[in-house]
């Protein structure tokens, strides 16, 4: 995995886990890779993965069964979707608005472009 240079690695790892859950690669109530397995996979210090897993536990995205490892929380995918939508609206959109204003692009200009994009995909 290529980490970006801006965000703390433990958060990037948490994001990676959330991607897997949202894409249903790792399913609800199923076991996810152990701290060590993920550390080897991502070439990072296992203590960093531990920190990501603790963070995800606090966010109620994963849970631990003593001696058995970490599992995906029921409804985790829905929770992640909700959190990511909130983040998109509060962080990504303001950036976009700023650029739109700068480049003088109207909201209606977006609509046709977005519709085309959706149609292309289907």
């Amino acid at each position: 995995m290529d980490f970006n240079n801006t965000q703390a690695i433990y958060l990037q790892i948490a994001d990676y886990v959330c991607d897997k859950i949202q894409l249903k690669v790792w399913k609800e109530d199923e076991k996810i890779p152990s701290v060590r397995e993920l550390a080897v996979m991502l070439e990072v210090n296992p203590n960093t993965v531990m920190r990501s897993y603790e963070y995800l536990q606090n966010q109620e995205i994963i849970y631990t069964k003593r001696g058995m490892g970490y599992f995906v929380q029921a409804n985790a995918a829905a929770g992640i979707l909700k959190a990511r939508r909130t983040q998109f609206i509060s962080e990504d959109l303001p950036q976009l608005y700023k650029k739109m204003q700068l480049l003088n692009i109207a909201v209606t200009d977006l609509q046709t472009g977005y519709e085309q994009f959706i149609n292309q995909k289907n």
């Binding site: 980490f3 965000q7 690695i9 990072v44 210090n45 296992p46 960093t48």
Partner: protein, 279 residues
């Protein structure tokens, strides 16, 4: 696991390399030892494993004084030096001679690492390239499962795929009761592995912080112009604008740029270190 108090060391009586150095390290972590050329990184590692003796002060490693060179102590400590010398024998004979010194040596593990590094196990050591020898010695070092593992510039001479392999192997072997110190200039190769940063400068350890503390106190970011941030401690020109270090007032969760951090500590020493000393 390592407790160094007021250690003085010099190759000549009047010229100290390490002066009044104190350092306490605990197992379960990978410490990155950073310092300029000639700062004394290797001297410190050699003091820890009993190859050099302090002129005064105390050095305790795994409950023992390294300078006594007790066999029980030496069995638990392994130093992978930067320059390696290998006799002209096969890998197997090297193993037969040297592995018995380490009771916890794991043959299976050794050959697994060799396999991961793509080294044919029938090879004679002298017929190998520098990088290949280094890989054999890295595999040997890790297979000893020593409690204290000291590695001096381990990625020197490794090609790009092997550096990746090295990171994977280290991420997989670190045990809770084991302590790894990696001294390096090539911070970029290893910064995702290191969880504690040690900076050796001016004959002592001037900084000893976990990575999360550093990014808690400081923010690392890219800006288009220096006007965007109010209190820049350190900046470097980057492709687009500047890479800057500022006090982390807004509690941002940025990624530590270890190389820039090291440069910043050396060039803005007072200001950088004061970030860690104030409460």
């Amino acid at each position: 696991m390592i407790a160094i108090e007021k250690l003085n060391f010099g190759y000549r009586k009047k010229e100290l390399v390490l002066e009044n150095l104190s350092l306490h390290l605990k197992p379960g972590h990978i410490y990155g030892l950073l310092g300029s050329n000639g700062a004394g990184k290797s001297s410190l590692l050699h003091n820890i494993c009993g190859l050099l003796f302090p002129s005064s002060g105390s050095c305790k490693v795994a409950g023992d004084n390294p300078a006594n060179r007790n066999p029980q102590f030496l069995q638990q400590v392994y130093l992978l030096p930067e320059e390696i010398y290998l006799p002209n024998v096969s890998i197997k004979s090297y193993l037969d001679v040297y592995a018995p010194f380490y009771p916890t040596f794991d043959n299976e593990l050794f050959f697994r690492f060799l396999g991961e590094f793509d080294i044919p196990k029938e090879n004679k050591l002298q017929h190998m390239s520098y990088g290949q020898k280094k890989k054999v010695m890295i595999s040997f070092a890790l297979a000893t499962q020593a409690k204290v593992l000291l590695m001096d510039e381990p990625t020197n001479g490794l090609d790009i795929p092997s550096k990746k392999q090295f990171r994977k192997i280290i991420a997989g072997v670190l045990k809770e009761d084991q302590l790894i110190i990696i001294s390096t200039h090539q911070v970029k190769d290893l910064d995702s592995l290191i969880d504690y940063v040690l900076i050796l400068d001016d004959k002592k350890i001037i900084l000893h912080e976990p990575v999360e503390n550093i990014t808690d106190k400081l923010a690392f970011k890219q800006v288009m112009s220096l006007d965007e941030v109010s209190t820049t401690i350190y900046s470097e020109g980057a492709l687009k604008g500047y890479a800057v270090i500022t006090p982390n007032i807004k509690k941002e969760q940025s990624r530590l740029d270890m190389e820039m951090f090291f440069n910043a500590v050396l060039s803005e020493k007072q200001q950088m270190l004061s970030q860690f000393n104030k409460q």
